[in-house]
């Protein structure tokens, strides 16, 4: 018999214990998460400077958008900001799509039992285990225009006719970055999808086999719909991660304008230009975008569950 909440003396003492257990964690979280976030938001409304952060003065929403003698200023008016937004969204879309498709493929392969499967799965985990910086550096080395093995391979296979400057040529920056991120993150997607695949009831496949249905049709009509919920969760997680990307792009291409993402833009303003107020405004904007998307996801997710 499923029993809902009990509101009596004995339960009250347990609830009290619960809060005692929670307080240490909450205190730390408030210190490292709540306070800095609120501070950043507050700073976004000031003219704070990195060298004199205590002299910050309140300036309202100037950092976000304001008209200063006929000219628009503020983050929202900066074309570089919007370029960063575009880059971020483009990056997110590309990586999540490619990683999902590739990850699905790898998951399907790993789902079949064959000799050496354990070793293959371990091999697939390797890119994920390597620190982002190391991955960036390794690929950066492979992408080197003069001594990089990537150009060497592609020249040898006649895919290109002269070496490409992956991390120098503005048109190629995004491709270079996506290449590395896909290599690094596909294992994660593959594992999540594999876990979902392994939870599927085997009877469906056996029935389809008995009925002689073509495997591709089985995939579209049986596998895909059943994996969809877990797949959606994985995709959303990845997307939210991708929007916040910093490490990879910074190490691979620095603060290059053409390839900047929102995180890089914010940091550049904060640390390099020492414009703490302005940089905080950009950070706050990024935070709100992510928060909005998260809330949307939760709400839509709940609504979907409710309909079920």
């Amino acid at each position: 018999m499923k029993e809902p909440r009990d509101t009596s003396w004995l339960t009250t003492s347990r609830v009290r214990s619960a809060w005692i257990f929670l307080v240490p964690m909450l205190v730390v979280l408030a210190l490292v998460a709540a306070w800095p976030l609120l501070r950043t938001i507050w700073l976004s409304f000031t003219d704070a400077n990195l060298l004199q952060m205590d002299d910050a003065k309140f300036i309202g929403a100037e950092n976000f958008l304001s008209k200063d003698g006929g000219k628009w200023t503020g983050v929202l008016s900066d074309p570089q900001w919007w370029r960063a937004v575009k880059n971020t969204l483009y990056f997110t879309f590309l990586t999540v799509t490619i990683e999902t498709v590739l990850g699905f493929g790898i998951a399907l392969v790993l789902n079949r039992s064959f000799p050496g499967r354990g070793l293959v799965r371990a091999a697939v985990l390797v890119p994920w285990a390597i620190p982002t910086i190391v991955s960036a550096k390794m690929w950066s080395w492979m992408q080197n225009d003069q001594f990089g093995i990537l150009n060497h391979m592609m020249l040898g296979l006649h895919i290109i006719d002269k070496p490409l400057a992956w991390t120098a040529d503005p048109d190629l920056l995004m491709s270079a970055v996506v290449m590395v991120d896909v290599w690094k993150t596909t294992p994660f997607m593959a594992l999540l999808i594999l876990a979902a695949l392994q939870m599927l009831p085997k009877e469906c496949y056996e029935a389809a086999q008995v009925d002689g249905i073509h495997p591709i049709k089985v995939f579209w009509k049986v596998t895909l719909p059943l994996v969809r919920p877990a797949l959606m969760v994985a995709i959303i997680f990845r997307a939210l991660d991708a929007i916040r990307i910093f490490d990879l792009i910074y190490v691979l291409t620095g603060s290059r304008e053409e390839n900047m993402t929102m995180s890089i833009y914010a940091r550049q303003q904060l640390i390099e230009f020492q414009n703490v107020g302005y940089g905080s405004a950009a950070s706050a904007l990024l935070f709100f975008i992510v928060a909005l998307l998260t809330v949307l996801y939760v709400v839509i997710g709940r609504v979907k569950l409710g309909d079920k």
Partner: protein
């Protein structure tokens, strides 16, 4: 209710171990338990029995302290225990799934509660070994629960309760996870333990066989209230309500709809809806003409003879032969379907015609609300 003697006298009469007064348990709007008034006597083996969802487990957990009463008073040995923590109530509980600590050996499982109570290691060791010996698990003390069979785990769970030397033992459907043969053995074990420990035991089960065989008194619960309390045989022979009558006994008691006809000094005539009637020896004033009643008779009390002599006849629809007895499905309508009769020898095969009699002394007459009508002389 007067008349029948209890099967076994509890050790200390008039000594109440557990007292439940006007106990109620509500979850929001749901009333899981309502106005429970009950007393468990010291040294008694008391069984709470009833269908799923009747509240018997909740009542047990309430006594244990794992749930709190929304209303009413719970007392143990005269002390009010509503707000006392479980460990301080002088009780021990055996769970349905045994709930042994998987990472501790049997010895450590038995020791855990004692050490928490700050008992000396020597004394604890003594108690543990005594309990282990009593339950014949002393050779298993260094094993882990996962290396034990279901029956052995059950014993360890009981042992954990015994070492605490509680005033009261609580059992929550302890035998449900065991197979049939093991259940029979464990039933006998529990009976033996009860005699040996001379402790008060409250036992919850949905199995009426366990209830009938183990209990000094049974408490039949239905939808959160008490239907009847009493020694098993008494409840079996003198059920107070239709529910209690139908709950004990397998196959279930036959219930026939009827209407009171003539009321005379020899007895009350009840006309059965399926035809015919009986003269029930009811007390004076118990019923009046026109009352709608239900007549109940157990399958084993129906006297079946071959032929059409009567007083009732029926065609045999189905014969279920169980070796030592047979169950006849007769084409007479009862509330639950066909009338069932339990016989030693089959008087006629399927599609054969038989006669049967409903002895008035074995008939129970229930009024419109399901309560039994008193007999003459009660």
């Amino acid at each position: 209710m007067a008349g029948t003697q209890a099967q076994r006298q509890p050790e200390a009469q008039n000594d109440t171990a557990i007292s439940l007064r006007a106990i109620g348990k509500y979850f929001g709007k749901t009333r899981v338990l309502e106005s429970i008034d009950l007393e468990v006597k010291r040294g008694e083996f008391c069984v709470f029995v009833g269908p799923s969802g009747c509240g018997k487990s909740t009542l047990l957990r309430l006594i244990a302290g794992l749930e709190s009463a929304s209303a009413g008073d719970l007392s143990i040995d005269g002390e009010r225990m509503n707000d006392v923590a479980p460990a301080k109530r002088g009780i021990a509980m055996v769970f349905q799934s045994y709930a042994l600590y998987p990472h501790m050996t049997v010895y450590q499982n038995l020791e855990f509660g004692l050490r928490l109570a700050k008992m000396e290691k020597a004394e604890a060791d003594q108690r543990i070994r005594a309990a282990a010996k009593m339950l014949q698990i002393d050779h298993l003390l260094e094993r882990l629960p996962k290396d034990l069979s279901g029956g052995q785990r059950q014993r360890v769970a009981i042992g954990r309760a015994i070492t605490r030397k509680p005033r009261i033992f609580l059992f929550d459907e302890p035998l449900s996870n065991l197979d049939a043969a093991l259940r029979v053995t464990m039933r006998a074990e529990l009976s033996r333990l009860h005699k040996q420990l001379q402790a008060t035991m409250v036992y919850v089960t949905h199995d009426q066989v366990e209830a009938m065989t183990l209990a000094d008194r049974i408490v039949i619960l239905n939808a959160g209230h008490v239907e009847q309390v009493g020694p098993p045989l008494e409840v079996y022979r003198r059920p107070r309500t239709i529910f209690a009558a139908g709950f004990l006994g397998s196959p279930k008691m036959n219930f026939l709809k009827g209407e009171v006809g003539q009321v005379a000094t020899e007895g009350v005539r009840v006309d059965l809806a399926s035809g015919g009637g009986i003269i029930a020896p009811l007390a004076a004033g118990a019923a009046k003409t026109g009352d709608k009643v239900t007549v109940g008779i157990r399958p084993e009390h129906i006297r079946v003879t071959p032929g059409r002599a009567g007083p009732f006849t029926a065609t045999v629809q189905l014969v279920e032969d169980l070796g030592d007895h047979s169950i006849l499905h007769l084409d007479r309508e009862t509330i639950d379907g066909r009338m069932l009769a339990k016989v030693a020898d089959v008087p006629a095969g399927e599609d054969g015609v038989v006669s049967f009699d409903l002895p008035p002394d074995e008939c129970h007459v229930f009024d419109g609300s399901g309560v039994v009508l008193p007999r003459r002389g009660q």
